[in-house]
């Protein structure tokens, strides 16, 4: 499916089939979750990243069903490049109303970057100034988990992590997504 067609689908679903909520509600709720995790784990930021990823994973497992229902695409993506376009132009579009750029493909087409020009989760946020959060905390790490969980449900095992974040002073917010393997449907043992 062409990228432009994916954009059109995303736009169409966003306009007609999505219930909207106030953006500040989302931002403040997510912010509270991250801040509370930091408090609960006593500023152990690697652990906070892990928890966010886990929460995202559990969201992804469920969210994919909603995505498939709304996007109404029974057709499978024919390759990982198409998957990437659908994630950006339909997935992110209908749930967050953003379309991160898909770039930096590796030669084997198994790994790409999502570059976030805007990130509704990170509005207003300033990372704690304790000398560690700037290096260790990936504020929007929940998104990595969401992708991992959602793609796992459609037979793709991926690895996703952020490699830069404007909150840390980087120029862009960039997530790296790498396809590890297609999970084959487990066939029942044949009885010859």
């Amino acid at each position: 499916m062409a990228a432009s067609k994916a954009s059109r689908i995303g736009e169409e679903i966003w306009k007609t089939r999505i219930d909207k909520v106030n953006a500040e509600l989302v931002t403040l709720t997510y912010g509270t979750i991250v801040a509370q995790l930091c408090k609960d784990f006593e500023d152990d930021y690697p652990e906070v990243n892990r928890q966010l990823d886990k929460m995202g994973y559990n969201i992804g497992l469920r969210l994919i069903e909603d995505y498939l229902a709304k996007s109404n695409t029974m057709k499978r993506c024919s390759n990982f490049r198409e998957t990437a376009d659908m994630i950006s132009r339909v997935g992110f579009k209908i749930f967050l109303n953003i379309t991160p750029q898909v770039t930096n493909w590796t030669a084997d087409n198994n790994s790409f970057s999502l570059v976030f020009d805007e990130n509704p989760f990170a509005d207003f946020v300033e990372l704690p100034d304790d000398g560690r959060a700037q290096n260790e905390l990936w504020y929007s790490n929940i998104l990595c988990g969401v992708l991992r969980g959602a793609l796992e449900m459609v037979q793709m095992q991926v690895e996703a992590h952020f490699i830069s974040d404007v909150l840390k002073g980087n120029d862009t917010t960039e997530m790296r997504v790498t396809l590890i393997r297609y999970i084959d449907d487990e066939l029942p043992p044949e009885d010859d």
Partner: protein
């Protein structure tokens, strides 16, 4: 031939426990040295801000609905303190230096400390307001209208709102219930906002 126009000398934010949350000090033009230096030291500014608390307390009994306290007190012939209080008890004070900046009467624009450093956008807004500022030059000493200070408080309040929306900013830490103490604001973004507001304001600026 040049004339002096008002500029912001200090912006202060005071928490509901009468604790200092933030103080920004801005240099004023000193014609004898032809340079920009603050006209009071940080301790003196801190004392001036503290002294406004009493005025806030007195006025709050007959308070205005809008939270705008207008002129709190004129400190001397140069400095005047204006105040604003939110419903949550956070007070914002703007100390204005009536002769903090200089405009060339010929109309070449405003000489401000932020002219170069503050970037093109503020520089252009400053020169656009220069004309408005020059027209009010004649009335220096007669004081400023409260409406001229209003944009400062509006901008300070929206900066404060943005600060509160940062999930890592814990309002309780900065003004704990029980009425004692509180930590200062350490946010760099908030500090930058205050710096921008203080440098960009001149009489006649409506949007900061």
């Amino acid at each position: 031939m040049s004339a002096a126009i008002p500029s912001v000398a200090c912006l202060g934010v005071i928490g509901r426990n009468n604790n200092p949350l933030h103080i920004s000090i801005f240099p004023s033009y000193d014609p004898t040295a032809n340079a920009f230096t603050p006209i009071r030291n940080p301790l003196q500014f801190s004392l001036l801000l503290s002294s406004t608390i009493d005025v806030f307390d007195l006025r709050s009994k007959t308070s205005t609905a809008s939270g705008d306290f207008g002129l709190l007190h004129a400190i001397d012939d140069r400095l005047a303190a204006y105040g604003f209080e939110t419903n949550t008890g956070v007070r914002m004070v703007c100390i204005v230096d009536m002769r903090g900046r200089r405009v060339e009467a010929g109309g070449s624009g405003v000489a401000g400390p932020g002219g170069g450093a503050a970037g093109a956008s503020t520089a252009s807004s400053t020169s656009a307001s220069a004309a408005a500022a020059r027209s009010s030059v004649g009335s220096v000493g007669a004081g400023l209208r409260d409406s001229e200070i209003k944009p400062v408080f509006r901008a300070m309040q929206s900066a404060y709102v943005r600060l509160l929306q940062n999930p890592f900013y814990d309002p309780d830490e900065h003004a704990p219930l029980g009425g004692k103490g509180g930590r200062r604001i350490t946010s760099k973004k908030f500090g930058d906002d205050m710096k921008r507001i203080g440098e960009a304001w001149t009489p006649g600026v409506t949007n900061l």
